[in-house]
């Protein structure tokens, strides 16, 4: 029996014993916390016991474990439904801080992030910087030991409850756009920060606009080098992409929807349209889009498990955009005149109409389909980039709006 195996077994025993002692399954509360965790007391114990980020160094709440060993811990937590493990892979905020914050700031912020003690939000997009994030015009001006922040951010979820926002702001206007951006952990609970809910096309408000007027952030909260924020953002975005699944929501009417590959067929049966040969062709096609995306993702995961990188992974968001728009179109067609309606008394119509609008969450949000096609074409197929006319010019000369 190898030493490794002995160690693994000891580790498994240790984590199981710890969980048996500390985890009360009935305590589980779920809910979107934007970084803040409902089981903070338990989470703090997880961090102190070094289960949260076992692949990190021992000096920083970790155990220097290999990923395969970390898996043992994650599996043990998953087996009893306990939260808090595997944050070395999943915690966007803590990973970003760990990688780029100053040692002093790390000491305070990282355990708070790992234990879910602070709420977080992302202050990236601006009205004038959507597809082109590097065009941010929110400014950070040095004053003594602080930076003074002014500007406007948008599409911020969780802003109202956040303690910190991960902010990109411009600190040098006389260099090309990518080279004058810095990355901050901005304290949100201060005057100078106004959060306004942003009403969406679906008549909901999951996002906010954030108006920032002379807000203050300590220079200690700067992540990475001054004017090196673009690089920090790239690693943060990479974490985000690897962590966040597709966030698109399904039907919202509350009425049960059929599940599985036959779901659309059941909806057609319910609508009395299943015998229509035209509908049947479309049922096959839209179902195929969904199944093919699942098969592609499974193949991508198998490739990655074998260590080969997969070109397919990046297609998922684009595929999902087509699935959502096409499913909405087909659901509308199944309903016919009934799709004119909405509201709780007309749940199928409510769902079809909601999905028709909410599909844009995926086809626009997080990079439009068009930007996504650029990225895939360039990074996966190796096609050359377009000429970028603003890449080398001082940002203050770049036309934007």
């Amino acid at each position: 029996m190898s030493t490794d195996l002995v160690n693994d077994q000891a580790l498994e025993a240790e984590v199981k014993a710890w969980l048996a002692e500390h985890w009360k399954p009935e305590a589980l509360v779920t809910g979107e916390g934007f970084g803040r965790h409902p089981q903070q007391a338990f989470m703090t114990k997880v961090v102190e016991a070094r289960w949260a980020v076992p692949t990190w160094p021992k000096a920083w709440w970790g155990r220097d474990l290999a990923p395969a060993q970390a898996k043992i811990i994650e599996r043990a937590f998953a087996a009893v439904g306990a939260p808090g493990a595997g944050q070395d892979k999943s915690n966007l905020w803590a990973n970003t801080a760990m990688a780029h914050a100053t040692p002093a700031f790390k000491e305070t912020i990282v355990p708070a992030l790992l234990s879910g003690a602070v709420g977080m939000c992302l202050l990236y997009s601006e009205p004038g910087a959507g597809s082109d994030l590097a065009a941010v015009r929110t400014r950070a001006d040095r004053r003594g030991d602080n930076y003074i922040i002014n500007g406007q951010k948008v599409w911020t979820s969780g802003a109202a409850v956040a303690d910190y926002g991960m902010l990109i702001a411009r600190t040098d206007w006389d260099v090309p756009k990518h080279k004058g951006i810095s990355f901050f952990f901005l304290p949100m609970k201060q005057t100078g920060i106004e959060v306004r809910p942003l009403r969406q096309v679906t008549n909901e408000a999951q996002f906010n606009e954030v108006f920032i007027t002379d807000a203050i952030v300590s220079a200690e909260n700067l992540l990475g080098p001054l004017n090196g924020g673009w690089g920090v953002l790239q690693t943060a975005l990479a974490y985000e992409r690897s962590v966040m699944g597709d966030a698109a929501r399904g039907p919202r009417s509350g009425k049960d929807n059929p599940k599985g590959d036959g779901a659309l067929i059941e909806l057609a049966r319910e609508a009395g349209r299943l015998n229509d040969p035209v509908i049947r062709q479309e049922l096959a096609q839209v179902t195929a889009y969904k199944v093919l995306n699942r098969l592609n993702n499974a193949r991508a995961k198998a490739d990655m498990a074998q260590g080969t990188s997969s070109a397919i992974m990046s297609l998922g968001k684009l595929a999902m955009s087509r699935i959502l728009h096409e499913e909405a179109r087909l659901r509308t067609k199944l309903l016919g005149a009934a799709s004119l309606l909405e509201g709780p008394d007309h749940p199928r119509a409510e769902d079809a109409n909601f999905l028709s609008l909410n599909a844009y969450f995926t086809s626009i949000g997080g990079g439009t389909d068009q930007i996504q096609r650029n990225i895939i074409g360039e990074r996966v197929l190796g096609l050359p980039k377009e000429p970028e006319i603003d890449r080398e010019m001082p940002f203050r000369d770049v036309r934007s709006g």
């Binding site: 997009s125 009205p127 004038g128 910087a129 959507g130 597809s131 082109d132 065009a135 948008v154 599409w155 942003l198 009403r199 969406q200 096309v201 008549n203 035209v278 728009h325 509308t332 067609k333 016919g336 005149a337 009934a338 799709s339 004119l340 309606l341 909405e342 509201g343 008394d345 007309h346 119509a349 109409n353 028709s356 609008l357 844009y360 969450f361 086809s363 626009i364 949000g365 439009t368 389909d369 068009q370 096609r373 970028e388 006319i389 603003d390 010019m393 770049v398 036309r399 934007s400 709006g401």
Partner: protein, 370 residues
């Protein structure tokens, strides 16, 4: 206005555009979207004063006596501005049906009020199944004690909740007939339907032994209903063409002025080519709507298929243009505050109002001999 010159028509449409600019701004559309009535009586009066409510009503009954060509152009302006008003019901469907039935007494009694806007009317045809075919009529009329009484249900009735008078297509033992009934009559229950297009008003009607007046017809009733529906389809096609063009213009304007990566986004091929494809759809939509109107006005043999073509081509074009417009605007059009979704909602409603595109495609093939 029958036999108007194209200059006169242009001047009329120009006046209407000015009226709509004042009375159907985006702010006003959003305000009316939240009212139960969904229209402004003052605007309705202004439309009447200009002649829009009486546009297709003959001059003997206080209207302008215009035809499909004029109606289509007027509706282009209406579609562009998202006007909230019961025009389709009270200025198209109801007077068209009355004129098609050809009953002099009913015309004399009802048309002047429709023309001057003092009376609002609509037509109830389909039942809960929602198809614009005779088989979906779900109201029955029985004659007893010298009176007709209606029983049953009509659904997807446009603007019924604001109508004074409803023309109800109902089954009798001798086939279909049209009945006139006041919205407030006893035995009539009108229940507003919540619509995804907030600029549209629509209701379900229940008839429980409701006394109604029969309007005798000079011709088979379903033929008359078809004639009214044909005019409504042309009006709808015009609305779609006008809306589509407006959204295209608004979108092209945006992508010329929105800069990302140091360039107007309209300079990127992905955006530029989407715009070009929308131009093709918009122009085709306008051509289809106008040609259908001309063919009907001239009583051409190809009028029926031209109306079916306009019905599905304009519905698809308006839907595609409004949907792609949101994508081309990006995040800003995902907000409630941006008008793009208002047009998408109208486009989705228009595509269903008198039968979905697939239904009209099937009819088109039949009309072409298939």
């Amino acid at each position: 206005m029958s036999g108007v010159s194209s200059d006169e028509l242009m001047a009329f449409v120009e006046s209407l555009h000015r009226l709509l600019k004042d009375h159907s701004s985006e702010v006003e559309v959003r305000r009316l979207s939240q009212t139960p009535e969904g229209f402004d009586p003052k605007t309705w009066q202004a439309l009447s004063a200009l002649g829009v409510t009486g546009l297709i009503i003959d001059q003997d009954h206080g209207g302008l006596g215009a035809g499909p060509v004029e109606l289509e152009r007027v509706m282009e302006a209406v579609g562009a501005s998202l006007l909230c008003a019961p025009l389709l019901s009270s200025a198209v469907l109801a007077p068209a049906l009355l004129q098609a039935l050809g009953n002099p007494e009913a015309k004399a009694r009802l048309l002047p009020g429709l023309a001057d806007g003092s009376r609002i009317a609509t037509v109830a045809v389909t039942g809960p199944l929602g198809g614009w075919v005779a088989e979906h009529v779900a109201v029955e009329a029985k004659h007893s004690d010298n009176t007709w009484h209606l029983n049953g249900q009509a659904s997807f009735v446009t603007h019924a909740q604001v109508a004074d008078t409803v023309l109800v297509v109902a089954k009798t033992s001798a086939g279909l007939a049209v009945f006139e009934i006041e919205a407030k009559a006893k035995g009539v229950n009108i229940c507003a339907l919540p619509t995804f297009d907030h600029t549209l008003r629509m209701a379900e009607m229940e008839f429980a032994n409701a006394p109604a007046r029969r309007i005798e017809s000079q011709r088979p009733v379903w033929d008359a209903v078809q004639e009214a529906l044909n005019l409504a389809l042309i009006a709808l096609a015009g609305e779609q063409a006008g809306g589509a063009r407006h959204v295209l213009d608004m979108t092209v304007d945006y992508v010329k002025n929105r800069y990302q990566f140091g360039r107007a986004i309209g300079s990127f091929q992905a955006v530029k080519h989407m715009a070009t494809d929308l131009l093709m759809e918009s122009e085709s939509c306008t051509s289809a709507a106008r040609y259908a109107a001309e063919a009907l006005a001239a009583n051409q043999a190809d009028a029926p298929q031209s109306i079916s073509l306009a019905a599905f081509a304009c519905a698809d074009a308006f839907c595609q243009i409004t949907a792609t417009s949101i994508q081309m605007h990006g995040g800003i059009a995902f907000t409630w505050a941006h008008p793009a979704h208002l047009y998408l909602r109208r486009a989705r409603a228009d595509a269903q109002l008198f039968g979905p595109p697939d239904y009209h495609r099937e009819r088109y093939v039949q009309q072409l001999g298939g």
